[in-house]
């Protein structure tokens, strides 16, 4: 993989974490219970922490003097490489949990591989730390899937709707892409198919316990890895980037 590809690949990892962390942080102060407010903030903090470490690493690799903040606050939506899934609005608590559950299961498998590979040792170290965090996130979101799925009739209907609504955005997690192919060829990532199989197996098990139905429709929305996003991302970035862009020379 070329340096440019390597850089782009790191951005995709960092952006998934950053955008989802940003979304989750919107919950702060508004969660269904005080305890859950604290839990969601913890997940957001972990994700933001992961993105910072990866962005810093990416900036150093690129060698153009861009630090984590330069990369986070001065890239346009077209330069963001995250999955569409993570930029979707929070919706209600069930929507947030379903999105989190799908992503956590994916991130857990991905970090599991990243911690083992030797192509990029810095990423291996970051992944080893992140893996512990993501395991906890995955337990949290899976438990909520089960509570909501097997809770009341209302919650079952709502969370099933969330699952169905998000389903078209799942395929992108396992979608082939030139940058990803380069990462696979250099041994940094396993092939998408094997990730998908493990993911489906684990997700199915939780959904079964939650008495929910795994959608079978295989239509997928893609584009995030190429910088072609949903309408939601540029709003998110406008909010996130407003202050540093208004004062480009300032230090905070």
């Amino acid at each position: 993989m070329t340096k440019a590809q390597h850089f782009e690949w790191l951005l995709s990892l960092a952006d998934d974490a950053l955008i989802l962390g940003q979304r989750l942080s919107e919950w702060c102060g508004h969660a269904p219970a005080l305890e859950e407010d604290i839990a969601l903030s913890n997940v957001a903090l972990d994700l933001i922490g992961q993105s910072r470490a990866i962005l810093t690493h990416a900036g150093l690799l690129e060698g153009e003097g861009r630090d984590e903040d330069r990369l986070a606050f001065f890239r346009s939506d077209r330069e963001y490489r995250n999955l569409l899934l993570v930029e979707l609005p929070n919706g209600h608590f069930g929507d947030t949990i379903a999105r989190q559950f799908f992503f956590d299961q994916f991130a857990m498998i991905r970090y599991g591989h990243l911690a083992q590979q030797t192509f990029d040792l810095e990423i291996a170290a970051i992944a080893t730390k992140a893996l512990k965090e993501v395991r906890y996130h995955a337990a949290h979101s899976a438990e909520w899937m089960i509570r909501l799925g097997d809770g009341t009739d209302l919650s079952k209907t709502r969370i099933q709707e969330s699952v169905d609504r998000l389903w078209p955005y799942i395929g992108e997690c396992f979608e082939a892409h030139p940058i990803l192919d380069a990462a696979i060829t250099s041994g940094a990532m396993p092939d998408c198919k094997s990730i998908e199989l493990t993911w489906k197996e684990r997700v199915s098990a939780v959904l079964a316990e939650a008495t929910l139905i795994l959608p079978t429709d295989d239509w997928k929305q893609v584009g995030g890895r190429n910088g072609l996003h949903t309408e939601h991302l540029s709003y998110l970035l406008a909010e996130m980037q407003a202050v540093p862009r208004l004062h480009p020379d300032a230090k905070w």
Binding site: G29, D37, S41, A44, G49, L55, S155, M240, V243, W252
Partner: protein, 315 residues
């Protein structure tokens, strides 16, 4: 021994009153009122700052602010727990809050308009809160005192991160310095109001002092806060919006100008700039979360009834 006498002896000997000890009704009521107001303040206080988490100007600042606001949720939770040891129910306290029957610190009804407000709040509002709260670590009611020890331990980083934001702004561009001064102008007086009305017009002071729920008077704490803060203002190169402020060599204290108590009582009465929004936000979170809390309860109930008698005994 007479229960009331025993209670009074405990207070006199600086012994802690614990949840199951006998206590006068008024002591219990006063504590529930004070602790729940304090808890509400922590929770409502999350909103003006939470407002800026998504717009923090660096990733590190975002993480710090998120961790800080998360701490405030924790503080609310510790305090609601302390109130529950007195027989109050968190749900009832929450209902009182969202129905507008409960009070909370007036400061959180002011809007956060710029990033500098995150600095001013951490520095001044958390600073004033710490000033108020440190004495409460020695309050006569054990669970409250212990909750406050935990809170105060966590607060120490809040004020520092706020001051650091101000420092960075004051060492930054002209626009950043202006932002810092503007923020100080807006938060200075409301921060001084956080200590409550002047001693002569404060209704709860005397009894609370006797019961060792309160240890210093409002004016005493306010004076300490001003004495501590003015040198920091000078260090930042900023000025407080009080033309009457002056150092009094003979008393060794700063003299401050008159506080606009009309504004204070207006805000307390529900007419501050953001009272309605704050309550509406809490109400929305509580109502939107209802189906989630119900689902979790229903699921727990299903699991509980699934357990066979054998398993119950095994523990």
């Amino acid at each position: 021994m007479d229960l009331n006498q025993r209670f009074e002896d405990y207070i006199a000997a600086d012994q802690k009153i614990e949840a199951k000890d006998w206590m006068p009704d008024d002591y219990r009521k006063t504590l529930i009122r004070q602790i729940s107001q304090h808890a509400h303040s922590e929770i409502i206080g999350m909103l003006p700052e939470g407002n800026w988490i998504t717009r923090a100007p660096s990733l590190q600042r975002k993480a710090i602010l998120l961790a800080k606001v998360q701490d405030e949720a924790g503080h609310g939770l510790y305090l609601y727990s302390a109130a529950e040891t007195l027989g109050a129910q968190r749900d009832d306290l929450m209902d009182a809050l969202i129905e507008g029957r409960a009070k909370y610190s007036s400061i959180f009804n002011y809007p956060t308009l710029t990033w500098a407000d995150m600095g001013a709040i951490g520095w001044l509002v958390d600073g004033a809160a710490i000033m108020n709260q440190v004495p409460l670590c020695k309050c006569s009611y054990g669970p409250y005192a212990r909750a406050m020890v935990r809170v105060c331990k966590e607060e120490s980083f809040h004020q520092r991160q706020g001051f650091q934001i101000m420092l960075n702004l004051c060492e930054g561009t002209d626009e950043q310095r202006e932002m810092a001064q503007d923020s100080l102008n807006r938060w200075w007086w409301p921060s001084l109001m956080m200590f409550g009305p002047n001693d002569e017009s404060s209704t709860h002071n005397e009894q609370s002092m006797r019961w060792k729920i309160k240890r210093f008077s409002n004016d005493e704490l306010r004076q300490r806060f001003v004495d501590m803060t003015i040198p920091q203002v000078e260090l930042l190169g900023l000025t407080v919006p009080d033309k009457d402020l002056k150092w009094n060599q003979s008393t060794g204290h700063y003299e401050m100008g008159a506080i606009d108590w009309q504004e204070f009582f207006n805000v307390i009465a529900g007419n501050g700039p953001c009272n309605k929004e704050r309550i509406a936000a809490r109400k929305k979170a509580h109502r939107d979360g209802q189906w989630v809390r119900q689902a979790a309860s229903a699921y727990a109930e299903k699991m509980r009834t699934k357990v066979t008698p054998n398993q119950t005994n095994a523990a």
